[in-house]
Amino acid sequence: MTDKTQKNRKMSTRKLAFLGLFLAFAMILSYVESLIPFYFGVPGMKLGLPNAAILMVLYIFGPMEALIVNIIRVILTGLMFTNIFSIMFSLFGAIFSFLGMWLIKKFFKPSIQVVSVFGGLLHNIGQLSCAILIVKNYLVGYYLPVLLIAGFLTGLLIGIISAEVLKRIKPIIKNNNDI
């Protein structure tokens, strides 16, 4: 019994370290994303690079860990690079897309690429909904087609990248118990 709790504690320390690493990874991706000009006349459109890190946490550790990393990521990068207004805005998109990805993963169990596509789509839909709520004008929905196409493409791209990375790092993180 004591042996088991010790083992669990050892795992949780490992986990904590890796979650911190993924949080840093997600924040760097947020910063890199802000450097890449990706703007085609539609507000709320993003490449979604940090989602790659969140997807990896979701697939390696689980939904709760991914949600926590996601929320901390949005708040920290928001405080460093933007303002409170943007934090609220991106938090809405981030949580909305995360819940969508988690539910899709839980109930349909598709591959990570499909989960990522839904993440991209829902992120854009979430931000659009937030924009509609803030400016109280339903015509913002005019951007929906562009946002859907962009969300699909970026989601697929991020999904493929995450899959390739996970193939290589997941065995290392999960099975290496003798550290």
């Binding site: 169990k109 598709p110 591959s111 690429q113 499909v114 005019y142 951007y143 997941k170 999960k174």
Partner: protein, 139 residues
């Protein structure tokens, strides 16, 4: 011991796409195509622009006459300047830091918009000719 650590690993051992995933993606793509098509079909040219600040109507302006419109906030400060030229409306100047509203370019499709979120200014192009001219006078 090792099994209890790996309980979440079993459902997705490799990360390649299965035929089922391709089908799901195709269905999603078809749904998106339908939405885009519907949006494209209901698109038409607008005749007047409606400007709202913080959700409240600031004024309506006909797209047929060239003009410059200073947009003020509730304190009376000019936050944005819109211009109508050749039947199209665009943001000329803005006090917001990102200038995204200026980058949104010229608009003349019905239901298209220029949004300046920091200043909460929305310019929406509308079709039909109701009361566009009267409100220009009232402004």
């Amino acid at each position: 011991m090792e099994k209890s650590d790996n309980n979440s690993v079993t459902e997705n051992t490799d990360f390649t796409m299965k035929p089922r995933d391709t089908i799901i993606l195709t269905v999603v793509l078809v749904i998106i195509a339908v939405v885009v098509l519907v949006f494209y079909m209901i698109k038409q040219n607008g005749s007047y622009a409606e400007i709202t600040v913080d959700g409240e109507l600031f004024g309506t302006y006909s797209l047929n006459e060239d003009q410059e419109i200073p947009i003020t906030d509730s304190d009376g400060n000019v936050t944005n300047t819109a211009e109508i030229k050749d039947g199209k409306i665009f943001m000329l100047e803005a006090t917001c830091p990102d200038k995204l509203c200026i980058k949104q370019g010229k608009k003349n499709d019905a239901n298209s918009e220029i949004v300046c979120l920091p200043n909460r200014v929305v310019i929406s192009v509308k079709s039909g000719d109701k009361k566009a001219d009267y409100d220009t006078v009232a402004q």
